[in-house]
């Protein structure tokens, strides 16, 4: 046990090296800083994909390592986006308003400026008053703290309620899904104070920054890569230590861990809240690149897709989650963007825009049935790691426990 963390986890070093290389290559090929082979919009897509990889790492922590199939992590992702979006929108509108008002004969009072910002932002929902939730929108520092505090607090309260009443397995999944649905429906209302189904828009314009989008997109790529690297490092550190052993124990046999004297609820709550914060940070980096956020993004189906990514990548291994998220979301962009070539069958032409979902759904069923270890399992072949021979038995009796094929010796 005296070996260093990195020595015990060589995959972390490989991952960080690959991530740095990727970032460097994209920067060199980009329009903003390099030779301009990759378009700015594709740089944004790559940056967004890195954020999705980060939330996939969080999902893997909570599902692959703790056995909680949360269908609510995209709600935290969206909340993080909303928190940063509020500041971006407020500040940008403020600059515009102040600029417009400086033309007036009488200089505006502070309250007049705030009123003008309010009517600019909330005009679309027929209001001009700032709701209470915007109380800190004028301060970047406070709003950045809220990025982790609000989703973290929500996860803490929800998790505490759910775990203390011993809701587990499928019930917990449905409950988290219900939470996501409730939050999305709440945000859809105009009087929720976050502009209803209009959402927050214009987030790609950083207030006070005059640099062009092709430069800004690279900044965000760097920030996303940094967040992913740090998040991955944190997750790897957590699962490598004693904490990791306990949560893996909870995943496979919760009752036994409880009988060993561990406070299962505290461990679960800690993982749930921490991953919610990671998801929120990913969201806060994602939506300024996407430019717009609305409650549609937080629909329960998004969280299920997140589980799909992790499952296809291979749960229970962090790089699997990253690979799954990157692979499926980029492939999805490629297929639904209409870039994939149609397949003429003579009597019918397969248009991938229409058939991609069918392909995804079908391949997902196949992965679940035949290759539970996902894409990450390919690395086992290469590194000669084998599955334990448990005659088809799972690692533990719990719903979230690893299956024989998912585990490695």
């Amino acid at each position: 046990m005296d070996r260093s963390f990195v020595a015990r986890n060589p995959s972390v070093l490989v991952f960080l090296a690959l991530l740095s290389l990727f970032t460097l290559v994209v920067t060199v090929l980009s329009e903003g800083f390099g030779i301009g082979v990759i378009s700015t919009s594709f740089v944004k897509t790559l940056g967004k994909t890195l954020c999705l990889c980060l939330i996939a790492v969080a999902m893997d922590l909570v599902w692959g390592f703790t056995g909680i199939l949360s269908l609510g992590h995209f709600a935290f992702f969206g909340l993080g986006g909303y928190m940063i979006g509020m500041w971006l929108m407020y500040e940008r509108t403020r600059l515009i308003v102040v600029d417009a008002m400086s033309q007036a004969e009488i200089p505006p009072t502070p309250s007049e400026v705030v009123d003008a910002i309010g009517s600019q932002i909330f005009g679309v929902v027929g209001s001009s008053e700032f709701p209470l939730v915007w109380a800190f929108a004028d301060s970047l520092a406070l709003q950045l703290m809220l990025v982790v505090l609000v989703p973290g607090l929500l996860a803490l309260v929800f998790g505490w309620l759910a775990f203390r009443s011993r809701v587990t397995g499928v019930y917990l999944s449905i409950l988290t899904q219900a939470m996501t649905l409730a939050l999305a429906l709440y945000l859809f209302q105009n009087d929720s104070g976050l502009r209803g189904n209009n959402g927050l828009s214009g987030l790609q314009n950083l207030p006070g920054v005059t640099a062009a989008q092709d430069i800004v997109s690279i900044w965000f790529l760097w920030a996303s890569a940094l967040a992913l690297g740090l998040g991955y490092l944190l997750a790897a550190w957590i699962v490598a230590g004693k904490f990791g052993s306990v949560i893996r124990g909870i995943r496979d046999n919760e009752a036994r861990v409880r009988f060993l004297g561990y406070s299962v609820e505290v461990y679960k709550l800690a993982v749930f809240t921490l991953t919610a914060c990671l998801a929120a940070i990913a969201g806060a980096l994602y939506y300024p690149q996407a430019g717009i956020i609305n409650p549609e993004e937080m629909a329960p189906i998004a969280s299920i897709y997140l589980a799909v990514w992790v499952a296809i990548g291979g749960r229970g291994r962090l790089y699997g989650a990253v690979i799954g998220a990157a692979f499926v979301s980029l492939l999805s962009t490629w297929f639904t963007g209409g870039q994939a070539p149609d397949i003429p069958l003579g009597f019918y032409t397969i248009k991938w825009v229409d058939w991609w979902q069918v392909l995804l759904g079908g391949s997902f069923v196949l992965v679940t049935l035949f290759a539970p270890q996902g894409i990450g399992g390919l690395f086992d072949l290469w590194s000669n790691r084998r599955h334990p021979d448990r005659h088809g038995a799972n690692l533990g009796p719990d719903a979230g426990s690893l299956r024989e094929k998912e585990a490695t010796q």
């Binding site: 009488i106 397995g169 449905i174 299920i304 589980a307 759904g361 997902f364």
Partner: protein
């Protein structure tokens, strides 16, 4: 000779009477010739009244002719006739009184009377008097309709007069009711109005409330002291609830009893208009970015007399204190307003009770929809413990099956009768296939089942989109399900919802029968409770699971037909119900059909209850309902009806 004289006298007499009668309507018309020819809404009133009041039978035809723009005036003598287009540019004129044809005249000799819409409405009102006692039943009914649409004081006497001779019992009752309503609004005698209000106050019709509400209309007044003659509804104290000091002051301003307030905008505009050399009232413009500096500059301007002085809080309070504010009824009679208020209170109570009943019926129908959507899930998830995210898509498949059947069989009744077993067959097959191919391999892995069935769900949804397109497809209910069962003006429920309720009951009975009275049901319960023990008793758990899953899926298909009847059939029809269905099963308690029923009932009533509290916002209702369910599960994690013993899991 004498006889001859008598005969000639009689002849002359006849002629005279004839001419007197003949002259009757024409005489009246001639008296008002100027106003009739002028055709102005403002002045025509007396003419129409005189014609209607004459009581002449021909007046009705004359008014109808006039309203139809078929009345012509002969320019030579100013007489009015009914005109009909003849040959060329001529018109054949007919006398109103005798009905005899007068002759045909060129249009240049005539002037057509073209009453405008305002006058035609007045003529219509006058005609109502005749129509009320028209021999044609349809005309009498339409006259009543028009009175109900536009009640007027002048219609009351003819309406009363027509009741006595009314032969039709139904119309007579309507006339009596209408007479009471008009009496409430328009009688000149207060006692008669109060009497009418008392007579009517045990009903709850919309028409009655429409008659009573205008009596209680108030207007807000301000006076130095309370007037004695006004019918005062409430005396308002400024600063208390209902009237803020600012509102009270604004009322004074509106009556020119106080100088207007100066708003922030006014101040800014006034300051902007008085910039002199970069300063306003000795304050530099650049410093005017606080309210205090602006007030100072404005005060300086006011002292110089350039702008009206600022109205301070103290000014407003003083001005308001010097006046009395009160709401007075527009209706002058106190007795009437009191009676109306009491009657409305009684009616409101009754309406409230009926609304509660209506809400309860709504909740029951919503609960039966949720129950229908969830009953299949209660079997697959509740009994088998298999979570099927594609359950919503089975509902969708059922609805599309109904749509396809309706394309083949155009008769709506027959097509629904065929569609129900068809939908069952299709989704049963799909369910069995899914169980054999996917779910069987994942029985011990509920989370993987969830994700795999989700994969199937998105694939099925996209397939439906590819096949049927994204637009909504209609699934039309048979004609006899159109309309609603109307109990009174408040309580009504559409037949389609009753049908869904009945369908839900049928399925409950059917499921209970299968579970309790058939071999399959026995095996199903055995496998649910302990699959290994059941297996060692000679039951084939695989086969039972397959059939159970097929049954649950098939019922989802039938639910799809039912849901498709009132909602549009789209590819995401199922996903709208999936979360609610899961909630229903989880809240109700797993493993028990009564649990699903209790869950559906609770969620249905809860949602309607929350909607009633905040009717404008169904999204909020759903949000709060889900939050409530999350909290509810804290206290009863195993649902309302929880299984006990080994079957419960732990």
């Amino acid at each position: 000779m004498f006889r001859l004289f008598l005969a000639s006298l009689a002849l002359v007499g006849t002629c005279l009477t004839a001419s007197a009668q003949e002259a009757a309507l024409q005489t009246i018309l001639q008296e008002h010739r100027a106003t009739i020819a002028e055709s102005s809404r403002k002045t025509i009133g007396p003419a129409i009244d005189a014609i209607a009041a004459s009581g002449l039978p021909q007046a009705q035809r004359m008014l109808e002719t006039w309203a139809a723009k078929d009345m012509w005036m002969r320019k030579s003598d100013g007489l009015f006739f009914a005109g009909r287009k003849g040959e060329g540019r001529t018109y054949v004129l007919t006398d109103f009184d005798t009905g005899a044809t007068v002759g045909s005249f060129a249009s240049s000799e005539l002037a057509q009377l073209k009453p405008n819409s305002g006058i035609r409405a007045m003529i219509g009102t006058a005609l109502v008097r005749f129509q009320l006692s028209d021999p044609d039943r349809g005309k009498r009914l339409s006259a009543l309709d028009s009175i109900q649409r536009a009640p007027e004081a002048v219609l009351l006497p003819p309406l009363r007069a027509s009741i006595e001779a009314e032969p039709d019992v139904e119309i007579k009752m309507r006339k009596q009711r209408l007479e009471r309503l008009l009496t409430i609004g328009y009688d000149t005698d207060h006692r008669a109005r109060v009497q009418a209000i008392d007579d009517m106050s045990d009903g709850l019709g919309l028409d009655l409330r429409a008659a009573l509400n205008p009596l209680l209309v108030t207007s807000r007044h301000v006076a130095p002291a309370l007037p004695d003659e006004a019918n005062i509804a409430a005396v308002l104290e400024p600063g208390r609830e209902g009237l803020s000091v600012v509102d009270a002051y604004d009322l004074l301003v509106a009556r020119d009893l106080a100088p207007p307030r100066v708003s922030q905008d006014d101040i800014r505009n006034a300051l902007a208009a008085h910039i002199v050399g970069g300063r306003v009232g000795d304050v530099p413009v650049a410093q005017l970015d606080t309210d205090a500096a602006r007030a100072q500059a404005y005060a300086a301007l006011a002292r110089a007399g350039a702008v009206p002085a600022l109205v301070t809080q103290a000014d407003m309070a003083a001005a308001v204190a010097g006046h009395v504010f009160f709401d007075a009824y527009v209706e002058p009679s106190r007795a009437v307003t009191e009676a109306a208020q009491q009657a409305l209170d009684r009616i409101d109570l009754k309406v409230g009770m009926n609304q509660t009943l209506d809400l309860a019926l709504d909740a029951v129908s919503l609960a039966s929809i949720y129950f229908l959507a969830a009953i299949g899930l209660a079997i697959t998830f509740g009994v088998m413990g298999v979570i099927n995210m594609a359950h919503g898509e089975f509902i969708m498949m059922g609805a599309y099956t109904g749509y396809v059947v309706q394309q083949v069989i155009p008769d709506h009744t027959l097509s629904i009768i065929v569609a129900i077993p068809m939908a069952f067959a299709v989704t049963f097959a799909a369910g069995v296939a899914m169980e054999r191919l996917v779910i069987r391999w994942l029985y011990a892995r509920p989370l993987e089942t969830l994700l795999a069935t989700f994969g199937i769900s998105i694939a099925l949804q996209q397939l439906a989109k590819n096949i049927f397109g994204t637009q909504a497809r209609p699934l039309t209910a048979p004609g006899w399900l159109d309309g609603a069962w109307v109990l009174n003006d408040v309580v009504s429920i559409s037949y389609i919802r009753i049908a869904i309720f009945v369908l839900a009951l049928i399925f409950l009975a059917l499921f209970l029968y299968i579970a309790k009275r058939t071999r399959l049901g026995l095996e199903m319960r055995a496998v649910t409770q302990n699959p290994r023990m059941a297996g060692s008793m000679g039951i084939n758990p695989g086969r039972v699971n397959m059939l159970t899953f097929g049954l649950g899926s098939g019922i989802a298909g039938i639910a799809g037909v039912a849901i498709g009847l009132f909602a549009k059939v789209t590819s995401d029809l199922g996903s709208d119900y999936i979360v609610q269905s899961f909630m229903t099963v989880v809240v109700g308690g797993v493993g028990n059909i009564w649990g699903a029923l209790a869950g559906a009932g609770m969620i249905g009533f809860l949602q309607k209850g929350i909607e009633w509290m905040n009717p404008s916002n169904t999204l909020a209702a759903q949000t709060y309902m889900i939050v409530f369910i999350i909290i509810f599960i804290q206290f009863r994690p195993r649902g309302i009806i929880a299984l006990k013993g080994r079957a419960a899991g732990d």
